[in-house]
Symmetry: C2
Subunit: 155 residues, 2 copies
């Protein structure tokens, strides 16, 4: 949960700016618990049942990988001063996440659109790629986030 | 966890086919727990801190809403015989989910693409809209899913 010292505002960002998160280990028990609550399918719940699935082995729910990615972004991956407030975006899972996988997220600012109506706001599009310990992409997201300018105290 | 009696295969689906899930109540404690693990931001964790955020009140993590949507789809929303295996898609959160909200998911088949190389497979694009008890959309997803044809036993 180490935080970068400086938190960034809208005017601190530029296209092509990159960020790297810390790592997170996918735990088998947590994979099964998450799946039991949110994605109760055999290939997320049980090693034996997973053998006869298209995955051939136990894999994490894609939504677990997505949630872990958010954790990594919030805690270390994107040091935005007002937090990470998303409107939505595109997501994909090029390959599954497995028990024991060590994930981290590499992000890049790909678009900055200042608000026309609200001069202290803007929408920033970020590409976040979640990689496993082999450097393989397990999850990719392009998301639009709400960013604010540094408030100047006129009091 | 009531399941429709009949599970559907690729050849059972048609464009415009619609499905409705059961309901799920967003619990305050679970909203905070999910956020503490995956999206630890003040507006998801604490009612008082949320008052000074852009949301003005405690709201669920968008990833919690996404995960609950998956639960609803798996358990009752999309009765696909081989389960729900997604490649990815587009997601958005038009408005936040609040404690006590009662969610359900309305889905529609919007595209069916048979595989060129694998005759027993196809990719089905589904639009899933998650609504609260007021009929407001809190989450929308267009996702591509892997579907299989009914296997004909030639033994």
């Amino acid at each position: 949960m180490q935080q970068p010292a400086e938190k960034l505002y809208l005017e601190d960002l530029c296209i092509g700016q990159r960020f790297t998160s810390e790592t997170y280990v996918m735990d088998t028990a947590r994979i099964k618990e998450f799946a039991a609550e949110f994605d109760p399918q055999p290939f997320h719940l049980d090693e034996v049942a997973a053998q006869t699935s298209v995955f051939k082995t136990l894999v994490a729910s894609g939504w677990h990988t997505a949630a872990v990615t958010m954790r990594l972004l919030v805690n270390s991956g994107l040091p935005f001063a007002n937090g990470l407030i998303g409107f939505g975006g595109e997501i994909s899972w090029p390959r599954p996440t497995h028990p024991g996988d060590i994930l981290h997220v590499e992000s890049e600012i790909i678009e900055i659109t200042p608000s026309r109506s609200k001069p202290n706001q803007g929408v920033v599009k970020v590409q976040a790629i979640t990689l496993n310990q082999k450097g393989e992409t397990v999850y990719q997201m392009r998301a639009k986030l709400l960013l604010f300018k540094r408030t100047v105290d006129v009091g």
